[in-house]
Every structure is written in structure tokens, then in C-alpha cells.
Amino acid sequence: MIAGISTIGLGVSIGASLLQLIAVVLGGPLLMGLMVKIRARAEGRIGPPIRQPLLDLRKLASKERIHSEHTSVVFAVAPIALVASVAVAIAITPLVSTFPVLGRSADLFVVVFLILSGSVALALAGLDSGTAFGGMGSSRAMTIGALAEPALLVAMLALSIQAGSSNLPEIVSSTLAHPGWIASPERLLSFVALLIVVISETGRIPVDNPSTHLELTMVHEAMTLEYAGPELGLVLLGQAMRLGFLFALVANLFFPWGIASGSNPAGFLLGTVILGAKTVVLVTGVELIAISTAKLRLFRVPELLTGGFVLAVLAVVTGLVTR
Amino acid sequence: MLIYVILGLPLAAAVAAGILPWRRWVGWMTTLANSGVAFLGVLLCAKTVNHRALGALDGSLRADALSAFMVVVIGTVSLLAVSQTNRFLRAEIDRGNSNIRHSSLYVVLVQIFVACMLLAVLSANLGVMWVAIEATTIATTFLVGHRRTTGSLEASWKYVIICSVGIALALLGTVLVYFAALHIDGAHLTSQGATALNWTSLQANAHRLNTGVMRLAMALLLLGYGTKVGLVPMHSWLPDAHSEAPAPVSALMSGVLLAVAFYALLRFKAIADGALGVGYTRSLLVAVGLGSLFVATSLLLSQKDYKRMLAYSSMEHMGLIALGAAAGSSLAIAAVLLHILGHGIIKAVLFLSAGEIYLVEGTSIITEVPALLTRRPVLGGIFGFALVALIGFPPFSLFISELNMVRAEIAVGLTWVAAVSLVLISVIFVAMMTHGRSLLLGEPASMGDPRSSSRTFAVPLITALVASAFFGIVAWPLAPLLGAAARVVAR
């Protein structure tokens, strides 16, 4: 495959990567807005407009940079590292097209590693600020992460066993070739496991409630409490991108229809639209589940995540059994 | 026809006892039914002793010498146990522990229990055998919990849970055997259908069964049916259930239920030996047999309760039987079967007299019942003689069977196993003698109210003791039958 890529192919490939990046940078905040909106409507309020997160980002970007005098360079670099790691993950993952975007680098282990390094950067920043809240948030985030990351990895491993490759484009395209796989038990199991992980990774109810600033329940919010201005904007953007990326990835892994398979730019645009639609449906479903669930007490969170991990292991074993 | 009657007698007795309110004569009627079973069992033995097998119900019931022998064991021990039922129930009603309705239920369940055991040994199908053995668990649960005290409820809870789990594993093993039978020589056979679980066809095709599956299956079966036999590692229900159950029920459970479960193992062992050679099952049986002996020995040493002492002794004897079966030669199996019969009779006598002791003394702690022999000579005498028989004194038949099992073990090269078991037997010997001495001998604190034992109690039990001694001296009526039965499963 790599040998076959011409300069034009490379251009198209880079174009596709850029398109994905733009789609997620814009789409992630919109998805966050959508979730807030759905919750508001379910509670009988009108709620802020869906584009509110984008407006917030613009406002934050125009503000002045303020650093606490106790912080080091880690604090300043972390938001950039977060956004950059997510951006690389987005660029190499097949979201709008199965066209091998950056050769064979779109390995699922690479993607999981990139996502993880973003989380680590944020946790370091939380510790670096030296405040009680920051440290608490970081330690909680790492507790959850230590459980969630293996589950994420194992759940995706189940998919790669089925497809016979850990290369994401190949997983997606072989799913397209075998639509019967969608209803196989290992798919369903790893789907549930991935949903659990994604919910905890992106800080949604029932694991974390992003709209609260109550110290007892804060996880992600506590880490970013010291940020302000453009850097807070970057952190929020990074989180929104990660949310959008994970949902889009799950949507593509399990419902790959509509993804562009050639190098036709029109196909890319269609793929973007369909990806948007799939992701919106998925997010709506998750949010509806979240609304009906009370937030878990913090010490129940490990139970949920180990549950996710077990489901992922189950998916792998089932995959081995039924192969 | 004979098979139908044997199965029908206890069922008919159960139905009659269920319809009629409990009276003494209802109890005697069930005793009559069970003596009928014992008698017809002897008749069945006579018909099958020359290696003939009787079939019934399109071949789903089948009786060969081994089944016939087990029918005799079940008939004899149940006759012994049921003959004491009237005394037991009357005493319970007099003490206000029970009423007519509970007594009726008791009689019905005992008869169903006997019928299930008979079905287990007469079934040609290993699946039906499983169903029958599981049904014995269900029938005996309420019998164990008959007194409805906290202790008896706890015992029956443990009994049902542990035995059901064990039996579920045995079902898994049975399913695996069936699976192997459907895939003989790698080909998928569907034509066999329902007969594939018949142990005759399994035994005939044993050498063609897949070895990997059979290994797994035999381990599960040994674990599963071993639970009901009271072998380690899932033996913990046994002492509780046997000590909490009413005496006649303990006699039935210890005397025959364990043996019926072991019968199932013997059948499967014959199949597994054909598929895997004798080595695999032998090592498994040696492991669980020695394990059971160790556990029984260690808990017998410091036992304070004479009913639990008897329960652990059952475990010891089941361990010995497992070791005998491990040897697996004709001699060994014949000795195992003789041991099953001897242990069934002696243990029934012991549990029944222990029940009588509990009834008159009101305690089951050994040290609180001193000098029984002086105060109640007949009761103490029966208990004493039975205890002596149990620990393997000649002339009782347990001596002969233990001797022959050890001989058979040495003959097949299991000398170290025989040596270890002999050491453990002698430890148990000392322990039981010590417990027996403090129970039977010593200075009576007060004479109390010397009561002579009733004739309905003494006569059947003494007859049983005499019979056991008789079989220990004279092999005549049993030797050809044991030989024929042993050849059914021995290699």
C-alpha cells in the first residue's frame, strides 16, 4: 500500500487529515454544546445555544494570559501538549476516509498512547499548580485513567483480533467487508466496554459531572481550575477535541458505513457529513442514558470501569473462541 | 417385569402413605414394601448371576449383576432403617417435635428417596442415572431438616447447595462423555441418538472415545459424584447432614446413598478405563481416597460428638472404597462391593442405635453418656459390637473386605497406598476405640431409670449384626454374585 502512494495520493491523504482535523476542532465543541442542550431540554430548560462552547473559546482566546507565580513550564506547556497529541491522533485515524492517511502509523496502540499522553499532560499540570484542588483532581483522574486505559486497549484489541490487524484503517475496511460482524458478541461487548471508557475519559455523567464545581465530585474540572484566558481555552478545546475524536472513533469502528473509501474529495465531504450524523446520534444516545443515571459516587467509579475492563476481556476471549 | 415391581413397590408405598394419614400400620406397610424390594433384589441376583442382563422399558432400564447387587444393598439397608421409622416418629410426636402431617411427609419422602436410588442403579442411561441421583438430594433435604431447628436447617442448606453444585459438575462430565460418544473417531455420529448415553454402548465403544475430552470428563465426574460420596474436596456437607438428620435417615444416607453415588463412579470408571487406560482414573481415585482418609482421621481424633464420629467414619470408609476401586482388579471390585454391603449394614445399625441413645440420653456428646453398657446392656451391646465391626474386627465382613482391598492394591503395585491407608486405619482404630470406651464403659454416675430396649428395636439390629458376621465367615451365597458383579466393571 505504501509503495502505491503517489505524490497526488500523498496530497489527498494530507488533505483528508486536514479535513478530519477541521471537522473535529469545530465538531468537538459543538458536540459538547449539543450535550448541554439535550440535558437542558430534558430538564425543561431552554439552555444555552449549541454553539456556546465555540463562543466561549473565542472569548477566552481574546483574553490576557495569567500564570500563577508558583507554576513551572509544565503548566504552560501542558495545554499545548494536550491539543497537539489529540490533533496527531485525529490526523492519523481514519475518520472520514479509510484511505491510509499516514501510511501504516494509524495503529490502535499508537492512538491509545496519544490519548493517554494528553491525559498525563493535564494531570501533570494539575499537580504543577501546587493547589490542593489540582492535586486531588490529578490523583482522581489518574485513578480513573489507570482503570480506563487498559479497558480501552483491550476492547480495541478484541476488534483487531476479529479483523486480524491492529491497523485502524484495516479494521474499519474489513468491518465494511463483513457487515455480519457488527452483531457478533465480541463487537457488542467491546462496544459497551468502549462506551464506558469513553464516558469516563471525556468526563461525562455518570463518572464525572462537568457542570459542577463541587469539590467532592470534581475530577477533570479540579485539574484545570488554575487556568485562565487563552490557555483555559486550549484546555477546553483539547478536551472537546478528545470527546469528539473518541465518539467519532467509536462510531466508525462499530458503524463504519458512509466512510469514504477512495481518494475522491467529494467523497471526503460526504464522509464528513455522515460522520457528523453518526456521531450526533451516538452522543444523543449516550446523553440520554446519562440523564437517566445519577452520578456514581466516586468509589463506585472503579466498579464501573473494572466492569468495562471485564467486558473488554470477555470480548477478546469471545473473539478468540468464535474466530 | 421384576424390575418394574422393584421400582413400583416403594412408589406405591409412597402414594399410599401420602393419601392415608400416618398410623403405625402405614409404617409397617412401608417396611413390608422395602422387605419386598430386598427379597426381589435377591431374586434379581439369582437371575443375573450367570452374566445375564435383564432389560425393561425398551432397554432404558437394565439390570445386570452389579445393579442387582446394589438393589439388594438398598433393599436391606432401607428395610433396616424403615423398620425403626415407627419408633422414631412416635417418639417425635410424643415430644411435640412433629405431628401427623409431618410424619406422613416423612414416610412419603423416605419411600421416594428409596425409589430414586433404585432408579439410579437400574437405569441403563447415564443421564437418567444423573437425574435419579440429583432427585435423591431433593428428597432427602426435608428429611435432613425434619426437626426444623436452626442446626438442621443449616445442615440441609449446606447439603443441598454443595451436593447440587457437585451434581451439576457431574452433569457437565456426563455431557462431555456424551459429546465424546457423538464424535467417535472424529466423525460426527447422529444415528446413535438416545442410546449414545447408554453405558453398555459407551463401554463397548470406550476405546474409540477422544482421550482429551474423557480426561476432563472423568475429572469432573469424580469431583461431582465424589461430592455425593463424601470424598474430598467437597465433603463438608457430610458430617453436618449426617449428624443433624433423624437417625433412620442418617442410616439410609450413610449406608446406601453414598454407595449409590459411588456406583455411578464405578460405571464411569469402566468407560474411562476403556478410553484412557487404568492409570489416569487410578491416580485421581488414589488422590481423593487418601485425601478423604486424612481428613477423616484428623477429625476423628478429637471428635466429641458420637453422631459426627459416625459421619466421619463414613467418610473414612468411602475413602477406603475409593482406594479399592483405584486398584480396579476383579478382586478389588469384589472387595469394594462387599465393603459397600458390610458398611451399609453396620453403619445403619450404628446410626439407628446412636439415634436410640440420643432419644434416651438427650445428648450427642460422647463424654456425657458414660457407662452405657452397664446402664442399658442391650443398646450398649449392639452399639459396641457394631463399633467393633466397623473398625474391622473379624469375624465381621468389613475385615474380609478391607483385607482383600489391601491385597488387591498391593497386587497392582499400589503398595505405598496400601501402607499409608493401613497406618491411617490403625490411627482411626485407636481413636474409635478410645471414643467407644468412654461411651460404653466407666462408672455410671447414677443408674437413672433402667429401661430395657424394645424388641422392635433390638431384633432387626441384632439380626443385621449376625448377618454381617455370617458373611465375614462364610462366603458362600455372595462369592459368585460378587464375582459376576465385579466383572461388569473390572478390567
Partner: protein, 219 residues
């Protein structure tokens, strides 16, 4: 039923049996666990039904119907009656906590997969390959039985073991002969009925719905 949709159906339903077993470890609400058990019974019935439709086996179809009725509704109903008497209706103090038992379960699942390699080697049929799922259900049932201390939880563990064995039986041999299967179902039903009576009378005699309160018999 066509080949691929048949095997898909089989995979889904057997997967559901195992997931239900995991869920009983996960939840502590006994009412919810009872519903999960009912779902497991239904899945088991679906497995039998799919096999019956595939092989056009009338006896197996009858078995499937029996399993659906007995394990899908009758047994859960009996258990629900016991659960109603348990104060609080929750499994409060398992011997090992939920995350640990979930991790334990994942080890057991891998163990089941390894242990069944001899079985799956014997036949390449779609159903045979799924047999480890049944074995895993049995092992998870053991875990429930050993670590849970409520009487009801023990009944549930027992039923998990039983459902696992039944699943293995269906997958490997397309069901044991009908008469055996009927006997097995009847036995299971009776065991649950017996346990229900026992649990109830233990509750009334000593107020014990906890096994830790049962300490009267020991050496």
C-alpha cells in the same frame, strides 16, 4: 435459518448468557440480579431454539420451550419471592469487593478458554467453538457461590452453574436426550423450590438471610 445468521444468533445468545453471569457479579441489587437471571434463562432458551430450528429437531424445540418457561420465568419468580423477604434487598458484604471479583471473573474466563481447548479441538462446528463460554459461566457461578454471603445469592450462584452446564450441553451435543433434559429441568426446578422453602424457614426460625449467621455446626 441460513448458516451465517444461525451462527450469529448462537454467538449472540451464548454471549448474552455469559454477560448476564458477569452482571450478577457487578450488581448488588438482588431484584436486578433476579431480572438478569431471567434474561439469562431466556438467552439459554434462544440458544436451544436456534439449534432446534437449524437441525429441525422437534424434541429440541420442546426442550427450548421448557427451558424458556422454567428458567426464563418460573425460577426467577420463585427467587423473587425470597428476595422480597430479604431486608434491604441487597448483597451487602461479599467476601471480596466488586472490582476484585470482576477482575477475578476475567481470569476465570481466560481459564475456561484454556481448559476447553481439548473440547473445541474435537469438532469444528459453530456451536462447539462456543463451548468455552458455557464453561466460563460455570466458573463465574462458582465465584458467586463462594464469595457471596446471602442465602439468595447462593441460590443464584447455583443457577449460574446450572445454566452454564446447560449451555455447554446445548452447544456440544444439541441437548441430551429429551427424557434426560426434562428430568434435569425438573430437578433444577425442584432444587430451587426446596431452597426457597429452606431460605424462608431459616428466615423465620433464626432471622438468618446471611450465611455468616449460620455458624452452629462445626468441628
Amino acid at each position: 435459518m441460513s448458516g451465517s445468521s444461525f451462527s450469529q444468533m448462537l454467538e449472540l445468545a451464548s454471549g448474552a448468557v455469559l454477560v448476564c453471569a458477569i452482571l450478577t457479579l457487578w450488581r448488588s441489587d438482588l431484584h436486578a440480579i433476579t431480572s438478569i437471571l431471567s434474561l439469562q434463562g431466556v438467552s439459554l432458551g434462544v440458544v436451544a431454539g436456534a439449534l432446534a430450528a437449524h437441525t429441525h429437531d422437534g424434541a429440541l424445540a420442546a426442550t427450548a420451550a421448557v427451558v424458556l418457561v422454567v428458567k426464563g420465568s418460573v425460577i426467577p419468580m420463585l427467587i423473587r419471592q425470597v428476595v422480597r423477604r430479604v431486608p434491604g434487598g441487597r448483597e451487602t458484604s461479599p467476601l471480596i469487593n466488586v472490582p476484585a471479583s470482576l477482575v477475578g471473573a476475567s481470569f476465570l474466563i481466560v481459564l475456561a478458554y484454556l481448559a476447553s481447548s481439548k473440547i473445541t479441538a474435537l469438532s469444528s462446528a459453530a456451536a462447539t467453538r462456543l463451548a468455552p463460554i458455557g464453561v466460563a459461566t460455570v466458573l463465574v457461578g462458582f465465584l458467586v457461590l463462594v464469595t457471596r454471603r446471602k442465602t439468595v445469592s447462593q441460590i443464584i450462584g447455583l443457577l449460574l452453574i446450572d445454566n452454564g452446564v446447560a449451555l455447554v450441553a446445548f452447544l456440544l451435543t444439541a441437548g441430551v436426550p429429551l427424557v434426560v433434559e426434562l428430568g434435569v429441568s425438573l430437578d433444577v426446578l425442584l432444587v430451587v423450590a426446596v431452597l426457597r422453602v429452606l431460605a424462608t424457614s431459616m428466615g423465620t426460625v433464626s432471622g438468618a438471610f446471611d450465611l455468616d449467621k449460620m455458624q452452629e455446626l462445626h468441628d
